[in-house]
Structure formats: C-alpha cells, structure tokens
C-alpha cells in the first residue's frame, strides 16, 4: 500500500477553506433547524389539530428517509417544480429541514416535561404568550433538552458530508477529490477520518461545556 504524506501537506489551504465551508453550512443549518424545530414542536403542542397532523407528516417523512435521498430530490428535482437553488443554499436548506424534524422531537419532549401548572401560573400572573414561552417554557426545559441537542448537532455535523452530492465544496467534496485526481484514495480516507473525528470531538467538548454552564445557571438562579 502506498501512503504519501506530502500529499496531505500540499492540500493545506484547500482543506482549510473546505473546513470553513463545512463549519459555516453546519452552524447556519443548525441554527435554522433549531428555530424551525422549536416552532414545529410548538405548533404541534399548542396549535390546532390539523396543524399537528400536517407537521407530523413532515416530521415522519423526514425522519423516515435517508438525508442523501432528500437532498438529491430537493436539488435535482426542485427545478422541475420551479424551485431552483444554488448548491450552498440548497445544502443549508436541506440540512435545516432534515435537522428541524429531529429537533422538533427533542423540543416536544421538552414541552411535555414542563408541568401545565407552571404555565397556568404564568397565565394567572397576566404574562402574555410570548412572555410565557420566553420566561417559563424555554428556561424550564433547557437542562433537559441540552444533551440531545448537542448529540443532534454532532449528527448534523457528520451529515454535512452528504452535501458533497450537490457540489457544496465542503470537506468530503474536497478530500475525495484527491482520490479521483491523484488516485490517492487511501490518503483521502485517512484524512476524512481525522478531520471529522477532530471536529466531532471539538463539538462534543464545547457541547459538554455549554451543558455544564447551563445547568450551573439553573442551579444558581
């Protein structure tokens, strides 16, 4: 087996840029997905029954099919219904729609954990709906939903690899190129493992730190 370490050095700047793209798409999509997931969960719990049914279909279809296929249909099938997206927006939107379904399930569990009595207490004190969400719902469920949110963020980080299929110039797209250009597939494999493991460990460490911080806040309040 041949293993050319110099190849890796020569790729430095490209890999740096690709890491940037991966992180940007991942963070952007995660942010949108969390907001989307929150509103989906909120709509399902407190909205009308028909909305719950419609959102349920969204959640189940997204969770029941592979992300690769969803993204392929969105990007290459979209234009046939008039939805033409550039690669990076398509990747961002696809990842956000995918993550939103999972985040909504996390928030659903979070909402269920808040006793109705606490919300009723807020109503009695004359808080409006927005205040109840901001001042009661969100703070109370934070500790419970933080660990699964961090977990899901890690899953999404690894799913960004799929974006290569719609030509987003992220890590997998760039690294696998050294495979097809120089036929250095083994080096590519090794690099992929290193980069994703490193990023995931980083994300996990930051996530745990954030969890610890949030739970401290809760205790001191």
């Amino acid at each position: 087996m041949t293993f050319d370490i110099n190849l890796i050095y020569s790729l430095g700047p490209t890999l740096l840029r690709a890491t940037g793209v991966t992180l940007m798409v991942w963070l952007g999509a995660t942010l949108v997905a969390i907001v989307l997931g929150f509103f989906v969960a909120f709509g399902r719990r407190y909205g009308p029954r028909a909305l719950d049914a419609a959102l349920r279909v969204y959640v189940e279809v997204i969770r029941g099919t592979p992300f690769l296929i969803q993204l392929f249909l969105l990007y290459y099938g979209g234009p046939f219904i008039g939805l033409v997206l550039d690669p990076v927006p398509a990747g961002l939107i696809g990842l956000a729609i995918y993550g939103g379904a999972y985040f909504s399930e996390i928030f659903r569990a979070g909402f269920e954990s808040v006793p109705t009595g606490h919300i009723e207490a807020g109503v009695c004190l004359g808080l409006d709906q927005g205040q109840i969400v901001r001042r009661i719902l969100i703070p109370e469920m934070t500790t419970l939903v933080m660990p699964p949110i961090v977990n899901m963020m890690i899953v999404l980080l690894k799913e960004t690899a799929v974006l290569s299929v719609v030509t987003v110039p992220e890590l997998t797209f760039q690294i696998s190129a050294i495979g097809s250009e120089k036929y250095a597939f083994v080096e590519a494999m090794f690099l992929l493992a290193c980069f994703y493991w490193g990023l995931v460990e980083l994300c996990g460490t930051l996530g745990r730190a954030a969890e610890a911080r949030f739970s401290r806040l809760r205790l001191t309040r």
Binding site: P66, F80, A161, M189, Y196
Partner: protein, 214 residues
C-alpha cells in the same frame, strides 16, 4: 419507472433490512458491554469504553467500513463483504447504543438495587433481573430512533460491496438515467420500512408499560 425496476429496488431492500436487523441486535449486546465498561470502576476499562464510543461516533461510518473491509485483510483476516458490512454497522451502532444505555443504567434509582441487595440477590442477578430490564425499558424510545437511523445509515455498506436499496437506486439510475423517480421510489420504500419499525417499537413500549399511563 417500470414495475421491473421497482421490483429490483424491493429485492435490494431485503439486504437493507437483513443487515440492519442483525447489526441492531449485535449492537445492543455489544453496546451493553461497552456501557458496562464505561460505568465500571476500573479506570482503564472506562477509558477504553470512552475511546471506543468517541471513535465510532466521531468518524464517518464510510471510513469505518472501508477500514474494516480493507485493513483487516492486510492483517491476514479476509472479511467477506457481508461480514464487513455487519461488523462495521454493529460497531457503529454499538457506540451510539452504549451512550443511550449508559444514561438508562445511570437513571435506575440506586434504592432499587439496595432493596435487591438486602434481599440477597447477587450482583449478577441484580444486573439482569432489576437493572437491565428497567434501563432497557427506559431507553426503548432511543433504541427505536437508533434502529431507524441504522436502517438509513445502512445505505453506506455499499462501499464494501453489498448492493442494498440506495445503491441499487444509484446503479439503476446510472444505466437508465432517470434518477428522480428511482430515488423517490427508494424514499417511499424506506418510509414504509421505518413506519413498520416505528409501529413495532410503539407496540413494544405499550406492552411494557408496567401500569404507567402514557
């Protein structure tokens, strides 16, 4: 999109289900062992457990599969495609399931085990009669999620030469050049399989309610 193409997809999904089911079961057993290691008082055992979980959760499954398929033969252990696929998927899901179970085991109240201890149940009996059933029941929703994840992730085992549902859709679209209907059909088949799995787990959850209302 002809009936013949759809039939080929359905045949290929047989492998998807076969490999996923075996991997989930093996992963559950191995995951139990790994989570026990992580909870153990031996520091080196706990560290080994943590590294296992870190690696198999942190690196892409694609790379893990390629390593198993291509590195083991160099060490003189030639693994056939099917074995590599099952081993790779099992190790990966074991890491995720170990984390789930760790949470489940930790959340079994210590008092339940003290009660068992007072009644003279051996540590082994305490684990299998009290701790494991409760932890498993508590993590059943997570196991359902993980099973669906694995059914979807099994599309990657094509990289070691097993033609499952996604790969068949890709192969067929590379000769018919009608990817959209083929991928939509594959998505539909995944949805049906995962719907059945989700229903099965709901049933299991309901039959192990132990009187606790939903």
């Amino acid at each position: 999109m002809t009936a013949q193409l759809f039939l080929l997809l359905v045949q290929a999904c047989g492998w998807t289900v076969f490999i996923s089911v075996i991997s989930i079961v093996l992963g559950l057993l191995l995951g139990t062992v790994v989570s026990a290691a992580m909870l153990s008082s031996s520091r080196s055992l706990a560290l080994a457990g943590r590294i296992f979980v870190s690696f198999f959760r942190g690196s892409p499954l694609l790379v893990q599969l390629l390593l198993i398929y291509n590195l083991l033969p160099m060490l003189g252990l030639n693994v056939p495609s099917m074995v590599a696929a099952i081993v790779g998927l099992s190790l990966c899901t074991a890491a995720y399931q170990a984390e789930n179970l760790r949470g489940g085991f930790a959340s079994v109240p210590a008092g339940l085990l003290e009660a068992a201890d007072m009644l003279g149940l051996s540590p082994f009996q305490q684990f299998w009669r009290i701790r494991a059933p409760i932890a498993l029941r508590m993590t059943l929703p997570a196991l359902a999620n993980e099973s669906i994840m694995i059914l979807k992730a099994s599309s990657l085992v094509s990289v070691v030469g097993v033609v499952e549902l996604t790969r068949m859709a890709q192969d067929l679209s590379a000769s018919t050049f009608i990817p959209l209907p083929l991928f939509a059909a594959a998505a539909f088949i995944y949805l049906v399989i995962n719907g059945i799995v989700a229903l099965g787990f709901k049933k299991a959850e309901n039959s192990f309610r132990w009187g606790i209302k939903a």
